[in-house]
């Protein structure tokens, strides 16, 4: 029989008020295996730990149980305490008589009884504990950042500056993300490009950063410290080693296509760079529109290219690379306003979104910064903004607030007044949300100095009569309907997760919420980690965010990634699942249930009645397994066991509970 020690903690009065701790320790003396049982005021304190360590040596203990707070608080403390006394740390069990007993009960007699029961179970379990050992795995000292918006750029720069190589991957042809489309930024109104492009260039030129644009993540294997990522480098049809970015091809290309970057308010060519400051600043051919690639006619760009860089034969390329950490920064999409048929959205050309207005305001945009209506190019005088479109609207499946739109609408109203002093902005709102540094002050200025008229209420209908847009809504402060004849309507469309965010989440093995925003490991205390070790989140892919929030989270994610990469090696989880091959039937149920893809079915050779035969059994990758235990419950033959929580140990606890 193993020699077990029992230590009952008072936690000051936290436990002792509701539990007779001395009595519990007294009763435990008679439990099978117990050679020492005692109580103390604070077991986690230095004297408490010294007491435990002395007892281990003096009584030659094989294991011990501490009855105290939740293992979430102090399990590491008591494990380390054992290790210091030369005991395997997994020979310790912690029984929770605080959160699960004293704090939730009032009757001291019953509390004592329950503590005794819990302790009896703990002792029955620890008798069956076996020493466990964690192994170490090497770390690939390189990071992948998926998504090159402001969040991805910032994360890449911070990791690179910490001294680790980074691959910054974006599926678009340039980095910059949405911020590149924005004209000026609240609350300081500095020009977006002026603060973004230096960062884009810095990322491109940083010796530790490899830029990989026009590329997508296809598959992710491996685990923390060593992810094997399959990347598709899409064919650009331009050899970047030869291209000088002279632009002759773009100028001569006869095929015009509505520009995605300009929100289709302007045109681009089939061979193009999306905007003048794009990084990398070399053109690619859009295969969906190029005349040559579609039907073999044209070929002009190849003819005019002075360096012979155009290559119609280029193909997609698949590469596999290994990274130690991954930062996901794939951002957001603007909500598709055509769901609001009552606003004529998507049908009436002069009902536009915030991003459209950004492009109309931008000096290098399709109208060279002059505000012109998309329908007839007329300069609008009365402009109506509608907030919370595709946000805070259960009927559209978007109950959440998109966070940046209150502020960008205030910004738009301010800038419009500056550009066009005779114009007037009307802003329909439900609430004005300005929780950021200098945000409320900015909003107040929009009203007081820039003459924006805020109307509290929803808009019910927008329609066109002649060249006017009739906006009908309610002023809920005055309690009456309002109607405004506007020249231009801007819907503050909310933020949506990327359309394929869920696919990416599945590829990476990270979780997402009901809308498709990636889920952090803890909403308050682990806001940049995911549930998958080694994968971190930055920016709007985790939920609506403005630029300051995105950048802050990106730096936080970078610290986490760099912290991981700085470790010489990683200790793997010791409490992992283990398959008993002798009784495993190879059914594969465990494989399908494992959320971390750590189980494979392998073939083994064995001797059976004197003959060799092959049999399929389950095999747990000890590096990947997170010890969640799902497979042990799924296994119909009881072959799968979680070390530290074996079926045997759990049954021993149940037995102990029934012995009362």
């Amino acid at each position: 029989m193993k020699r077990i020690g029992v230590f009952v903690c008072h936690c000051g009065s936290n436990i002792a008020n509701t539990v007779h701790c001395e009595k519990v320790a007294q009763v435990a003396k008679d439990f099978p295996g117990v050679v020492l049982s005692t109580d103390y005021k604070y077991m986690c304190s230095e004297p408490g730990q010294v007491m435990i360590q002395e007892a281990i040596r003096e009584h030659n203990l094989d294991g011990y149980v501490v009855a105290a707070c939740s293992p979430r608080m102090h399990e590491p403390t008591f494990r380390k305490c054992a290790a210091r006394a030369g005991m395997n740390p997994y020979m310790v069990e912690q029984v929770n008589i605080r959160e699960q007993c004293s704090w939730v009960h009032a009757n001291k007699e019953k509390g004592t009884e329950k503590s005794i029961d819990l302790l009896r179970m703990g002792v029955a379990k620890v008798v069956k504990n076996e020493p466990l050992y964690s192994t170490t795995i090497p770390v690939t000292k390189r990071s992948l950042v998926i998504g090159g918006g402001i969040a991805g750029i910032q994360a890449a720069l911070d990791i690179a500056n910490a001294g680790y190589p980074v691959t910054l991957l974006d599926r678009e042809h340039t980095i910059g993300g949405r911020m590149a489309q924005v004209d000026k930024t609240f609350p300081t109104l500095d020009c977006s490009a002026c603060i973004l492009t230096p960062k884009m260039v810095e990322a491109a030129q940083h010796p530790n950063i490899e830029l990989m644009t026009y590329a997508e993540v296809e598959a992710v294997d491996g685990f923390v410290g060593n992810f094997d990522v399959t990347i598709r480098k899409k064919a650009r049809y331009v050899d970047f080693d030869q291209c000088t970015g002279c632009g002759a091809c773009t100028e001569k290309c006869p095929k015009k296509v509505p520009s995605e970057f300009e929100m289709e308010l302007g045109m681009r060519k089939a061979i193009y760079t999306p905007f003048p400051q794009a990084v990398p600043n070399k053109p690619i051919i859009d295969a969906k529109h190029c005349r040559y690639l579609l039907d073999g006619k044209c070929g002009i760009c190849k003819k005019v290219c002075p360096t012979g860089a155009v290559d119609y034969e280029q193909k997609d390329e698949l590469i596999v690379e290994r990274f130690g950490a991954i930062v996901v920064a794939t951002g957001f999409e603007q909500f598709d306003i055509s769901a609001y048929e009552e606003y004529g959205a998507g049908k009436i050309p002069d009902v536009i979104t915030g991003l459209h207005l950004e492009r109309l305001m931008n000096a290098s945009g399709p109208t060279a910064g002059k505000i012109k209506r998309p329908s007839d190019g007329k300069v609008p005088e009365k402009i109506v903004f509608v907030k919370c479109v595709g946000s805070r609207d259960e009927a559209k499946g978007r109950p959440y607030c998109s966070k940046a739109c209150c502020m960008y609408v205030a910004k738009h109203a301010t800038l419009l007044k500056e550009k066009m002093p005779n114009s007037k902005s009307y802003i329909f709102y439900m609430d004005v949300r300005t929780p950021g540094k200098n945000y409320e002050e900015f909003y107040a200025r929009t009203q007081n100095e820039y003459d924006a008229q805020y109307i509290r209420g929803r808009v019910s209908k927008i329609f066109q009569v002649g060249d006017k847009l009739i906006v009908r809504g309610e002023d809920s402060l005055l309690g009456r309907p309002v109607e405004i004849e506007a020249d231009l309507v801007v819907l503050a469309a909310g933020m949506d997760p990327r359309g394929d965010a869920k696919d990416l989440a599945r590829t990476l093995g990270i979780s997402y919420d009901q809308h498709g925003w990636f889920t952090e490991a803890h909403p308050k205390l682990q806001p940049v980690e995911t549930h998958t070790a080694g994968i971190y989140l930055a920016g709007a892919c985790q939920g609506p965010k403005d630029i300051p929030d995105s950048v802050a989270q990106a730096s936080a994610a970078a610290v986490k990634a760099a912290g991981l990469l700085s470790k010489p090696e990683l200790t793997s989880e010791a409490m992992t699942a283990l398959c008993d091959e002798a009784i495993c039937s190879g059914c594969g149920l465990c494989q399908s249930i494992c959320p971390y893809k750590s189980i494979e079915i392998k073939s083994i050779n064995e001797r059976y009645h004197g003959q060799m035969r092959q049999r399929r059994v389950s095999n747990v990758n000890q590096g990947l397994c997170q010890g969640c235990g799902a497979c042990t419950v799924a296994c119909p033959s009881g072959a799968m066991n979680l070390k530290g929580f074996t079926n045997d140990q759990i049954l021993a606890e149940v037995d102990a509970l029934c012995q009362r």
Binding site: Y340, K347, K461, F463, V465
Partner: protein
């Protein structure tokens, strides 16, 4: 194609043109309508304001009768009847409700028959090619504002099309050779249910529908609803007075326009029974001349 037909009270009364044209068009298209024997009032306009059980039980009896006679699909021309019948069909999907209603009407009702708005039957159920092949007098040049009213598209459980921008009738009009106009009052309330109790409030709403159809450049309005039609047609003079503008917009049932395009006689379709003179506009279409 065989359907049960629930005519409701208006098809022989205020909406007699609707009744006449429905039957004539169905015959021309080879659609077999079997009037539900011994049908009763659907309860529209009053029952659901009084008593919920009554509002389900009344149409449920019609559904039960249809079931008894093996009519799986019931075509309902009147939009108000449609909404009540469909609402009952939805309510009867709930087993306890079905039992309770069965006791009240003293009939077995399983909820097997599907309620269909007539406009659906004449569009979705017909092959588009077939329809264009039977059009002999295309309504070319006729600018039509399709007015759906509220009953066919709200609430979501009974809606036959988008509640904000339905297109089903617009597409039908295009198939008949007419030009549907874009406008935004397609589903705005015409004030029909206040026409008797608060006529002054109702008239303003009716007038707005007419005004925006006119501003959108329509020659006429087409509807699938006897309530809307009588409101827009009968009270158009009063609306003109209120707006201080001349409207002159004939209000057609979609079945009347179908009939004309299929080459049927105007009088046979009831086109002579309108308040706003309705035949000359159609006589002047290029195809008619």
């Amino acid at each position: 194609m065989k359907y049960g037909l629930y005519p409701g009270c208006s098809l022989n009364g205020t909406g007699i043109e609707y009744g006449l044209s429905t039957k004539a068009v169905a015959q021309k298209l080879g659609i077999d309508f079997v009037e539900i024997p011994d049908w009763n009032c659907c309860g529209a306009s009053s029952a659901h304001n009084r008593d919920h059980l009554l509002s389900v039980a009344l149409p449920a009896r019609n559904l039960a009768l249809a079931e008894q006679h093996g009519l799986d699909q019931i075509a309902v021309p009147c939009a108000a009847c449609y909404q009540r019948m469909k609402a009952a069909e939805v309510a009867l999907r709930d087993e306890p409700t079905r039992r309770e209603v069965g006791e009240v009407i003293e009939m077995k009702v399983e909820g097997k028959s599907r309620t269909r708005a007539l406009v659906e039957v004449f569009t979705n159920d017909l092959d588009a090619e077939f329809l264009s092949s039977v059009v002999v007098r295309p309504l070319s040049g006729l600018k039509v504002a399709s007015y759906y009213g509220c009953l066919l598209v709200k609430p979501a459980q009974v809606a036959i099309d988008s509640p904000e921008n339905p297109m089903i009738m617009d597409k039908l009009m295009a198939a008949l050779g007419a030009t549907p106009v874009e406008w935004s009052y397609k589903t705005e309330c015409c004030g029909g249910s206040l026409a008797i109790t608060r006529p002054e409030a109702s008239l303003g709403m009716t007038a707005n529908v007419l005004k925006y159809a006119k501003l959108a450049g329509a020659d006429c309005i087409v509807t699938p609803c006897p309530l809307c039609t009588s409101n827009l047609d009968m009270r158009q003079k009063a609306a003109e007075g209120l707006l201080g503008m001349e409207l002159g917009l004939p209000i057609y049932y979609f079945t009347e326009l179908m009939g004309v395009a299929l080459g049927l006689e105007m009088s046979q379709l009831g086109l002579t029974k309108h308040f706003v003179e309705a035949t000359s506009l159609l006589k002047n279409t290029p195809a008619a001349q």
